[in-house]
Amino acid sequence: MIEIAESAVRSSKKLGVDEAEGFVQRQRVIEIVLERGEIQSERMKIRRGIGIRVIKDKRMGFAFASMLDQQTIQETCRDASKLASVSPRNPDWVSLPLPEKIPPAPEGLYDENLANLTLDEALNMVLEGYEAAKEADSRVSIDEGKLTVSSTEIAISNSHGINLYSEGTFISFYLICVAKEQGEASSFAYEYDVSRTLKDFSARRVGELAAKKALLSLGARRIKPFRGDVILSPEVASEILFAPLISNVNADNVQRGRSLWADKIGESVSARSLTVIDDGLLPYGLGSSPFDDEGVPSQKTVVIENGILKSFLYDTYTANKVNKKSTGNAARESYSSLPSISISNLLVSSGTKSLEEMISEVNEGIFVNRFSGNVSNESGEFSGVAKQAVYIKGGEIKFPLRETMISGNAFESLNRIVTIGRDRRATIMSVYTPPILVEGTTVVSQ
């Protein structure tokens, strides 16, 4: 694969470009989709392709193709080079990354067993999760779900001498369940598991937990609107607190005036209890790799320490622009996309309290398991429906809530963090966070 990437770089250089980069990806994907409580489709995909980025006189062009034969690659190089000539000159362009020493791959990013998982084995996993939900309680039914298993190889080569190869595996499974009792339906309960390896992955646990969550939301009631304490589950905290945070520390957003934290390095941006680290080398990490999608070594970057904003996250372009080093946060969705800044694994430091202890300290409030609504990453405003929520009074869970609106502002909420829980969980966004208790959120039951 490296040879293909290298040949694209060579072909581009022959066309007279200043710099060139080839990104080759090869993937095998199994997807099993559950819908209406049944296996709806099962797919096996073999996918490969190349993305070619060239720079000519500070002008960039990019082209991709899903075919890797010599002729297609040469045409793609020509397309990229042609696009570079019509692209306006970008005076801020400095250079593609230069080769650096790459750290050894963290443990647990590639699992041979997962890469070779057969279709039958994948089907059986789905069945396990499915049966677990069904067996949990006869009132529970499965609405939808999906198992995705992927094995990906990438090769990056650029004209400064970067020549890298890596492989990784990934498995994720989710289920959405609903419980029905005497004509009343619970809200849709979502549960998932996601991992780089088969070790510690359990489809059965997903089924059990999804069923349990669905049952817990039967008998839902309404409450009077109030402003108070809200405990956010890891998934909800990721969506409404950390998505805006991630957007605000993205150096590209900072440089374009899209971040409210642009001039806040060294200043307090959240409660003192919050420490957030981006760690691209976390063993078994969902977003881990020895190098990022431009070939820059992965690293650990302290983003917020005890409430103080320490660093933004950079790729090579945004770092060069301000004379800094890339933090190794360039990511691509696939060979068909250019790199852009993304977190690797965002680790939120844990506190000491269990979820039960957190609940026991709430006088009046709610615990939100799932959120369905809108979050503006720029302004931090969020507003939407708290799903799978329960009402807490006097330190105890009283009853599940009917669909309830919550709204607030992420940046205000980050300052209103009362407690960060103990038990951290990886979310599908690669944010590793415990549940978080925030005060002063508006809660309106419909």
Partner: protein, 455 residues
């Protein structure tokens, strides 16, 4: 490619098997704040096989197109169908469909293959400049222009052999404005099925300026106070509602599992001023195609006729379950996906009210403008973001507010409709239902009642 597909298909024996070949050429330009963020040209080509064995589907795809690999996906699809069969309770049957041998091509004045795509870069940059010059309060802009050129080949074991070429040109503008320490963003789009002439008829700069003026207007404003109000929903939001909150509940696979519309054929679910259609043949529609991805001709499917439920959207599989004729709604995003029931162009039909008439007898309410993201459950419960809310007091427009969410049950909203406007408009959408797809969404502005959520 279609001959190769046909040859491979004829070599295997199965109850039912189909193959699709798909070449997608894309060209896209993204401009952020006066800088070209990226110019991309791309080519994706692949093929897939879907086999039905004893009522069980199997699917396999590849990006390597030669005889050996095509025969291997045909084998994989059948193996998959066989091995997943014991896990499926329902046995799939397909409603009959005539095997068509036909070709379709988007009607275009300026076919992108004969045009100099690179010159479009200048157009995006100009639109960006205008948006920035609109006001010093505009702090950031992201403009996108895309040309997506699809060639789809379909063959099946019943003898169908269909070639379609579908070209879509579209653009989007997201503008962020800052004022009094607040940041607000606004979004507009342009585009349809057709050639590059689209950008002459409805230029990207118009969308960019519209978004810029809204972002600047709402940035200094407060967030709307919440409550249950009489509202006028602008046509863009009506399209969103028609698709997201109502349309999905009329997709036969969701009807089958008990969506809001199950068992409601012939029943009244909306005010008699409401007629809702999913149309696969609409000229220039973003979701228009002559045949769906099962080779079934598309049609104009009436879902709600003057308030009464008429029918649903079907694939061959659900048409057989419901004992009806397939409607041509089975669509796949690419060769990497099996076709599922999707909308094409979904809209509420216009009537004759003007905006002034819709507003005039509202004592205390809002006119809501500019659609945003949102969610809807198949019981009709929905929640959308809207970009701007303008207060109506005794029939007059008053102060405007920044963004809000609207929520409720879509069928309650349809029942509450007291007036349907004449300002019909179709917009582009990319809908996600496990896999994305291009759809048209539209309607006129309407007057109704719903919950406006603020802070």
């Amino acid at each position: 490619m279609i001959d190769l597909l046909d040859t491979c298909l004829s070599r295997v024996d199965a109850e039912y098997i189909e193959m699709r070949g798909h070449t997608r050429r894309v060209f896209s330009v993204v401009v952020k704040d006066g800088q070209v963020e990226r110019i991309v040209k791309g080519l994706n080509r692949g093929a897939c096989a879907r086999a039905l064995v004893d009522g069980s589907w199997g699917f396999s795809s590849t990006t390597i197109i030669d005889k050996r690999n095509l025969l291997s996906i045909l084998t994989d699809a059948r193996i998959l169908a066989r091995s997943s069969k014991p896990l499926k309770k329902r046995r799939v049957k397909m409603a009959p469909a005539e095997p068509h041998v036909d070709e379709y091509k988007t009607c275009m004045k300026k076919d992108p293959r004969n045009e100099d795509l690179e010159s479009l870069v200048g157009e995006v940059l100009d639109a960006d400049t205008e948006a920035h010059e609109y006001s010093e309060k505009v702090v950031s802009t992201t403009l996108n222009l895309s040309v997506v050129d699809d060639e789809i080949f379909f063959v099946n074991s019943e003898g169908a052999r269909i070639k379609q070429r579908i070209v879509r040109c579209f653009g989007t503008a997201r503008i962020i404005a800052k004022s009094k320490g607040n940041i607000a963003s606004a979004y507009e789009s342009t585009g349809r099925q057709g050639g590059l002439e689209i950008f002459k008829d409805t230029p990207l700069r118009e969308a960019a300026l519209k978004a810029a003026s809204r972002a600047v207007r709402i940035a200094p404003k407060r967030v709307v106070p919440g409550g249950y109000y009489d509202v006028v929903l602008e046509n863009k939001i009506v399209g969103l509602l028609a698709h997201e909150a109502i349309g999905h509940t009329a997709e036969a696979d969701l009807v089958y599992t008990g969506s809001f519309l199950s068992n409601k054929v012939g029943k009244k679910v909306a005010s008699e001023t409401v007629t809702l259609v999913d149309d696969g043949l609409m000229p220039y529609g973003f979701g228009t195609m002559k045949y769906d991805d099962e080779g079934v001709p598309t049609q104009r499917t009436v879902i709600i006729d003057r308030g009464v439920v008429k029918g649903f959207m079907h694939s061959r599989e659900t048409a057989s379950q419901f004992g009806v004729t397939p409607t041509g709604n089975a669509r796949a995003w690419s060769f990497e996906y099996d076709p599922i029931i999707r909308m094409r162009n979904t809209y509420i039909e216009p009537r004759d009210w003007t905006i002034d008439e819709l507003i005039e007898d509202i004592k205390d309410g809002y006119i809501l403008r500019g659609g945003g993201g949102g969610q809807a459950d198949f019981n009709g419960e929905f929640m959308f973001a809207v970009q701007e809310a303008i207060r109506i007091k005794n029939g007059d427009l008053k102060e405007s507010y920044r963004g809000a969410t609207i929520s409720g049950n879509a069928f309650e909203v349809l029942n509450n409709i007291k007036g349907v406007g004449r300002d019909f408009e179709m917009n582009i959408g990319i809908c996600g239902k496990e896999q994305p797809n291009y759809v048209g969404i539209g309607g006129p502005s309407v007057k109704t009642k719903l919950l406006v959520g603020g802070r």
